[in-house]
Assembly symmetry: C2
Homo-oligomer: 615 residues x 2
């Protein structure tokens, strides 16, 4: 609440408001109101609906949420069970949840907060289903905040994290809602003729999802950067064991960041934070450029989403490319960040497990990103589908129109001769080797599908690999391009750029040796090159980056209060802070218990309230 | 408390008690009392000390904990800072924590429960440090349970999980403790001469750690099995999307377990649960056999642990082998189980994130296993050290005395000729290929260390890989051997054994293709074999195991109340249970809030107490 009050007081712009929300680093109960509810009302409402819903919502007079996912239906939007049936007699809709699995579920801000919801429901007109459409529905009384009649709504209970958000459920029992409930900018029902008004095209919907996914990629970099910052700072302070090769008689333990087994876990992740940041940024640029080009000409609803996931009605070739790459990158970036945070936590040893590390809760809150806005495992099918389509067009001899078809035709023209990439000596060749491997896997998958007629389901695992390979290529390429841009040279001093080059090489070579077998099989590299990358180049880069590690994480510039971590303190006073929090601020230490199992009482005394007042 | 009361009422044996503890599946405040405190008093106390401490503790008259780890010192026991200085005038010890980093930290059962502690402290005699020794120290008053003078003790605060255990901190300010505090079975101070009494050998200590680690390996199988059970059952119920190749006009979505992208994540883990179980079991057998052989002849303290981690004073060659393999397997098994649980959680899609999935909290409670009893990343050095030593002895032409030296000399004798393993056609060859790769990596590491004189620190990453390779060989071998034992044939019907063989092959081939590049490089397999394993064999096995998947997880026989999972219910009533818990049992739904940011009040009404009484 406080934040929404401040927003008005200082008249923040939308961007300033998002920044403030990010800084709090915790999902809040207005989260879905401020994002999905407002945006949907604004973008999909008619002009009359905008003033009715959007303007009042912007002033927090109505509080909304976005109810799409159902108990039994997540990724497959077409499968939603909630129905909105047009009643031609009363000229209104009847909203109904026919089964338990039709219950709206996981809806953020719905559990306790919202009094309105955008409900996605199957539109039924004259007994025919026309697919999911958005309806704005009041669900709680504006005064008492009690649920309205025929509405069953509540909170879905505790989660692994994200517990500051009230995710809710919602069921309707033949609830009548007026005609104007249906958001009618792109499609609707004509109340006079009882006929359906069709949308023009479906590409705008993909635009929004592409935007959200690009955002996830960029965020993945900064999310991971928090964990890397904490772990790197702590590992520079933490000392454990003497170096085995230390001269006899020398004293003192080494900082654990000097151990290569710690470096190999943290420094490639440090490189990944920058790689993801540059990649997300370049996707955003592409998206904005494309949006500008398309202008405002398109009007579209999402009524025509195909029955399976294979069909896309892409507006332009560039948009299709952007849509596909955003799917693959969303998948890879979210998995990289989630797993990377856990690696950071473990690198902190035992103390990483304490809540005072600041990593655990942050990890738990981030995890749903892997599943939402397209499950990161399902989503890779869309990438594969697009790559197969592109490969078919290249095989037909069509001219490359974007980077994807470009790398595919380059591969095709040289596949017989083979490749000889100097991955250890040339950065350009390193990027080319990633492109080569992605192209090789694309044509392999195409062979399985088109020549061997393999079942789609039997290829899902290959598709996941293919999507990963393609996304890794994009990240390596974007990182490389970012370093070559003239703006970069202008903004940074040559020394910093030199260190960033090392990070680029570390990211690329470490990825290459981790995925070694695909690089061999595609004959992009030789066994000898992989061995050298692994045992010499990567180890050398770790050693060269080590002295800059702390300075590099400091460049992300997280303030201490945001990290909220004893281990990641800028001043390195790790142990003092851990001790202070445990000994002086821990309310449990106000309680004295009875330890003997055969005594009935549990507490001897309880002064924990005194600690709470200190916090 | 209830459990300890029941224990006496029914006079449970130690094994029955452990079973009951496992069934509760939650760490309890007496956890460390019942394990480390009791065992240490029993095994390291003199006869007089056994009656003084062990017998009273067994009756819960004194409640103890085991205080070894310090704020600044985890894995490196030699680096502990707490001192116990012998005072020849008063014939007692002075226990002191010289710095903040000397604070005992993470000590289970210490935060609120214990009134005694086994404290590991540096014994100082005549100004000379003799290394860490165990002391039994009273820390809280037996009546009031308040901390004693010169003792600062408390709880260390919230953790990522494991919050049902009161982990604590402990500092001493020149606390005087009597001579009999020092546990004196193996070493001690003679109060008359003020001289140190030396321990005979150090091998027994490794015995205990080996036992604990073998236990962790076996537990890893069942821990993972809980997650696999929940995810497999749920994925057999959950339906999402139509198969892309489904004939036009067909209705209904497919169970997600039919998707190969879900199978490739869950079924290899299902195979791993059995693989880990059989491996842990065979380690236990080896340990018990070895213990019997050693008899009671050895008496040892842990005073002679070397300064770095390289020295081991192993009792027998078999014990050394067991010690090293237990380190490697502990590392691999704990990482496999922890990461596998998260894979299971994600395979449950969005609902996996709900606490009602039963996986999240279980995962969070399991995570510390990766770090404790030897950090799973540090520990691999011990395996590498042992393998290097074994390789040196084989190079010198010494006769193989155990399985490790056996596989090393087999490799050496054939390294020039190369290998030609029929990994796809013969199970025996499959096991041999794993042995070959481990031996190859061992001799590579030896070359780097002994010939190229590489720094120990530069080899840590190679050592981690080596340890993993060796442990994977052991798991594959133990799984294979277990299936060939005559007891197995007697206990199980041929059909079940046939399915277990498929699981063995799935585990081995999936591991082989995941680690493909090491298998190539060692020329244990060809590129063509890997490609076939990946795209044909593994996919075929998934398809063959799919129909048995639910039956296989049912064989682990977890009762519903132990899984505590809506998604993993035996009867498949997933959605009904989720809804019941959210709608009927969720106290949050008794609270009505005020949603408007500019109103000062937060709660309109609060009836949540009514829900609590239902739970």
């Amino acid at each position: 609440k406080r934040l929404a009050q401040l927003r008005f007081k200082h008249a923040w712009t939308e961007e300033e408001f998002r920044m403030a929300t990010d800084l709090i680093s915790e999902p809040g109960p207005y989260g879905l109101h401020d994002s999905m509810f407002l945006i949907t009302c604004r973008d999909q409402g008619s002009d009359a609906q905008q003033s009715m819903y959007y303007e009042r919502a912007a002033k927090y007079e109505i509080i909304g949420c976005y109810a799409q996912t159902e108990l039994g239906h997540g990724s497959n939007v077409r499968g939603l069970e909630t129905t909105a049936t047009w009643n031609p007699d009363k000229k209104n809709f009847i909203l109904h949840s026919p089964h338990l699995t039709a219950s709206k579920w996981w809806i953020g801000s719905l559990g306790r907060t919202a009094n309105h919801a955008v409900v996605m429901a199957q539109l039924i007109l004259n007994g025919k289903s026309l697919g999911p459409h958005p309806f704005v529905v009041q669900i709680r009384d504006m005064e008492s905040h009690e649920p309205l009649p025929n509405v069953h709504v509540g909170d879905i209970g505790p989660k692994f994290g994200y517990n500051t958000m009230d995710n809710g459920f919602l069921l309707f029992n033949n609830l009548e809602i007026p005609h104007e409930s249906m958001l009618a900018r792109y499609s609707g029902v004509d109340p006079k003729t009882n006929k359906y008004i069709r949308p023009a095209s479906a590409s705008l919907v993909y635009g929004t999802l592409t935007f959200i996914r690009s955002n996830i990629v960029m965020q993945a970099g900064s999310v991971l950067a928090r964990g890397v910052t904490i772990a790197t700072r702590y590992c520079a302070i933490r000392r454990q064991f003497q170096d085995k090769d230390a001269p006899a008689g020398s004293v003192g333990e080494s900082p654990v960041l000097n151990y290569t087994m710690v470096q190999i876990r943290l420094l490639p992740l440090l490189a990944a934070t920058f790689a993801l940041h540059f990649t997300g940024k370049s996707m955003m640029d592409l998206y904005n450029e494309n949006k500008k080009r398309m202008g405002e000409k398109a009007t579209a609803g999402d009524a025509k989403r195909g029955p399976g996931p294979e069909e896309i009605n892409a507006g332009s070739d560039l948009l299709a490319d952007l849509h596909a790459t955003s799917c693959g990158l969303k998948s890879l970036a979210s998995i990289t960040a989630a797993e990377g945070l856990e690696v950071c936590r473990r690198a902190c040893g035992g103390h990483g497990y304490s809540s005072f590390s600041g990593i655990g809760p942050w990890y738990a809150d981030y995890l749903p990103t892997v599943s939402w806005e397209g499950d990161s495992y399902m989503l890779t099918q869309q990438v594969a589908r697009y790559l197969l389509k592109s490969a078919r067009s290249v095989l037909k001899g069509e001219k490359p129109t974007n980077d994807t078809t470009q790398i595919l035709s380059t591969y095709l023209s040289r596949a017989d001769m083979g490749a000889a990439f100097d991955v250890l000596g040339s950065d350009e060749d390193l990027v080319a080797a990633f492109a080569w491997r992605a192209a090789y896997l694309t044509f392999e998958a195409l062979k399985h599908r088109d020549e061997h007629k393999k079942a789609w389901n039997d290829l899902l695992v290959d598709f996941f690999r293919l999507s990963k390979a393609h996304s890794q290529y994009l990240i390596v390429k974007n990182f490389y391009d970012a370093l070559h841009r003239s703006e970069t040279a202008a903004e940074l001093d040559p020394e910093t750029i030199a260190v960033l080059y090392k990070l680029f090489r570390l990211y690329a070579l470490h990825t290459l040796e981790t995925e070694a077998s695909e690089f061999y099989t595609s004959s992009a590299v030789t066994v000898r090159q992989i061995q050298l990358a692994r045992s010499t180049m990567v180890m050398k880069l770790l050693q060269e980056i080590r002295p800059h590690a702390v300075r590099l994480v400091d460049s992300w510039d997280f303030p201490d209060w945001q990290l909220d971590s004893s281990l990641g303190r800028f001043d390195g006073k790790v142990y003092e802070d851990l001790f202070h929090r445990a000994s002086e601020q821990n309310p449990l230490n106000g309680i004295t218990i009875d330890p003997y199992p055969n005594n009935g009482i549990l507490f001897k005394s309880n002064q924990s309230a005194a600690y709470k007042s200190k916090l």
